[in-house]
Amino acid sequence: MLGQWTAEHLAEPKAWSKLKHELHAATSTETDVQLWDLCALARMDHVGAQLLWNAWGRRWPAQLRTLPVQRALLERVAQFSMTVPLPARKSAMQLFLALGRQVLRVADHLIEMQRLIGQLMLDVMRLVRHPRHGPWRDFSGHLYHIGATALPITALVGFLIGVVLAYLMAQQLKQFGADLYIVNLLGISLIRELGPVLAAILIAGRSGSAITAQIGVMRVTEEIDAMRVLGIARGYRLVLPRVMAMALAMPLLTVWTTLAALTGGMLASDLMMGVTPDYFVSALGDAVEPSNLTLAVGKSTVFGVLIALVGCHYGLRVKPNTESLGQGTTASVVTSITMVILVDALFAVVFKDVGL
């Protein structure tokens, strides 16, 4: 036998298919009279040795000539070769039990979420009693990151949605000659629904994921454990400031997004239908009752608290490994966006008589 019996050389497709046939031919003939001479091999590594060993049917051939190095390789391969114990297949019972575990896991999520909310209440009371010792520095930092840095993106998205909506509505309204109603349509839909939901979805994707990732990384690097050992309450220092910042930033961002969307809508209706900005602004006051604004702000505060809580919840559940961090972040964003839309639907049902 000749050549390079190393993984790199064996893996070349041409060499491999040729070798496979030769090996097959060699091993299928009479084995007693064969002499395997490896002394002329340029190189052999463990993969090469394994290949030979497997080809020999995992036993030593009758006649074999090797160099001592090759002999050592083959002996090691021979010693360690064994069939892999495959991971056991799941039986029907196990699948059934796995389903049960899933249900329990959901229950576990709910219990932990409830515990988080309870702890938050206690922390709020503690803050009310000793406002001077509150985590104000953390709060202002989060407020900046969640609120101020989100201004450009929310404005851009809001503005474009306003333009698109106004454009679509103008097409329809023109057919009925009801051009002026665009103010009512845009005003109600943007202020009452789209502004809060749009801002909440953007912030859930942007800051909800960031919250989970921050807390999750702290979990992976054992910082949370370190806090506990140092006697620092994680609820008070990690969860409370984030929830407070979110509860304050979210309504502000909602107002900001709604304003941007209304600006976009106003410009588009001016261009499309000649509804002047002057008229738009004056008609808006009559078209939209102030209670809509209150509803929107209240709703978005709830959204903010929800997003922060869901983010913290998934962050604290991250297990100390990197894969779990990725899963937690994904789950956090998906859950918080779903929650926002569910709660929005709930608000729509409960407050159907308000402001319409």
Partner: protein, 264 residues
């Protein structure tokens, strides 16, 4: 298996890092030559650029100036296809792929070649797994469930899967208990002897250093101040070298030197 001449050649290496607007010179005109079959330990104080040097040999970082040649090719080309057959690296924290099981981690480089049958790949990975002293029944565990020592073993098995002639180790015994560390040393020594590996190791562990190395290179003052046999290096008249080896810990570990390293 026995290529002669330098495996790694470093000439006039200069590395500079920027920290907060300030430039920090880590290496300046550093020269180092590593011959085939050596077991070289690189030592130096914290921040003397040991790990950076390893990363530069691997081509993970590009030096500001200078030339690094690994097996006759520039280090920057080392990461090309088939890298696993040229060089193995044991990262400080293992760097196992967290999404794969132990066996899949080890088999990954072989499987990526695409031609070898699955059975052969699995057998080869299983042999490597046992070579580093792990049980076959641990093959299907996930890295997240392994202890630090086991992670290092699996990572070593992965770096050895294609029997590369050059093996780089970053703090191989850090975070292992003394017993495990000794096992690890024995393992490395036997691998070095049997596979004819060239091993480059960064370590702070003087026991490991004296037990294994055939040569020690000391990084200080931005270059290799001295390199040679452990006992020669120890007596080199340099402030850093003296305090490093002849501090209390050094003296204790020195007792090991009475027996010369087995790996030659």
């Amino acid at each position: 298996m026995s290529t002669t001449g330098p495996v790694v050649e470093i000439e006039k290496l200069t590395s500079v890092f920027r920290f907060a607007g300030q430039e920090v010179v880590v290496h300046k005109d550093l020269d180092l030559r590593i011959d085939a079959g050596e077991l070289l330990s690189i030592v130096g104080g914290s921040g003397s650029g040991k790990t950076v040097l390893l990363r530069q040999i691997l081509g993970l970082e590009t030096p500001r100036a200078g030339r690094i040649t690994v097996q006759g090719r520039p280090a920057s080309q080392l990461g090309d296809e088939g890298a696993a057959s040229r060089v193995g690296m044991l990262f400080q924290h293992g760097a196992l792929f967290s999404a794969f099981s132990v066996l899949d981690n080890i088999a990954f480089p072989l499987r990526e070649l695409g031609t070898l049958p699955d059975e052969l790949v699995r057998d080869a990975a299983l042999v490597k797994l046992q070579m580093v002293g792990m049980e076959p029944k641990q093959a299907h565990q996930m890295p997240a469930n392994l202890s630090g020592g086991m992670i290092k073993r699996v990572a070593l098995a992965r770096s050895l899967i294609m029997d590369p002639p050059l093996l780089l180790l970053d703090e191989p015994t850090a975070g292992l208990d003394p017993d495990r560390a000794d096992d690890f040393c024995d393992l490395l020594r036997s691998l070095h002897r049997e596979l004819g590996l060239t091993v480059v190791m960064v370590t702070h562990d003087l026991d490991t250093l004296f037990a294994l190395s055939t040569r020690v290179a000391v990084l200080a003052e931005q270059k290799v101040v001295v390199s040679g046999l452990p006992r020669e290096v120890m007596n080199f008249p340099n402030r850093f070298v003296q305090s490093y080896f002849l501090g209390k810990r050094g003296l204790r570990a020195r007792a090991l030197l009475q027996e010369p390293p087995v790996a030659v």
